[in-house]
Assembly symmetry: C2
Homo-oligomer: 126 residues x 2
DNA sequence: CAACTGTTATATGTATTATATAACAGTTGG
DNA sequence: CCAACTGTTATATAATACATATAACAGTTG
């Protein structure tokens, strides 16, 4: 479980969240598995414990983990279907923005679709 | 030229920017046409002059308008091709995010494309 | 009980957004 | 010329988000 964070404008707690979500969904962190303690992760990443806690708090609100005082935080994917739906809504939100821009600047549906196909393919070859 | 802004989390100056960009690109505000003065627009929208100025400053940086002290701000679309390219990059940025999510949650290329086609169509019927 | 877990309170610091007020500066019509 | 418009700049204030340090509090376990 290697997490790398950087000063790129995205808040640290967001970067930690995204890294952990990826680890959870890819199975790198499995159901019921324990996450690094907030103190140890803070030490590893050289950022504040409170920043890690913020990330963990949000992960719990969003259904990815469950945290128990004194014990730690554990992967919990009971709501995987709900999570998937939320992610689909997120995709729809982005697509709506894209289409707004595309319509305004006369970029065609075909161009967008071609771009998607291209990006999907180049992603596969990584 | 009716602009509506609201307290929805998007900064006021961003909302003003977006509304003006839309007006410019759709031709609602034409090349060389004068924009509302920052003071009058601030009064209309009941927000600070400085907030409007910030919006106008960014519009100038991004090539949509030119501002001259004492005279006002004018539509300037010399860089329309450059602007279009920037917008295509913006679309690509969103698509990259979408594909990251899609791959992680096993959402297929077809589902995304279908969604795009659907959103494009429903947009046309507005 | 020591050594881990997470929790909470307090305080500090920076950046962004937004505001009000006021003074300064350029343009233009009467 | 000057009044009445334009935009510009400085100063000060305030809310919010992000991130930090320190310290005390609380639950778990070998």
């Amino acid at each position: 479980m290697k997490i790398i964070i950087s000063n790129n404008g995205t808040p640290f707690y967001e970067q930690v969240k995204e890294a952990l979500i990826t680890a959870i969904i890819t199975g790198d962190l499995k159901e019921d598995e324990i996450l690094p303690s907030i103190r140890s992760l803070a030490k590893d990443l050289r950022i504040s414990v409170l920043t890690i806690k913020k990330a963990y708090d949000e992960l719990e609100k969003e259904g990815y983990i469950i945290t128990k005082q004194g014990k730690g935080s554990f992967v919990s994917l009971q709501n995987l279907e709900l999570i998937k739906e939320l992610k689909q809504q997120e995709i729809e939100k982005y697509l709506t923005k894209i289409i707004e821009i595309a319509k305004l600047y006369n970029i065609s549906e075909e161009e967008i679709i071609d771009l998607i196909k291209y990006l999907f393919r180049s992603d596969k070859n990584e």
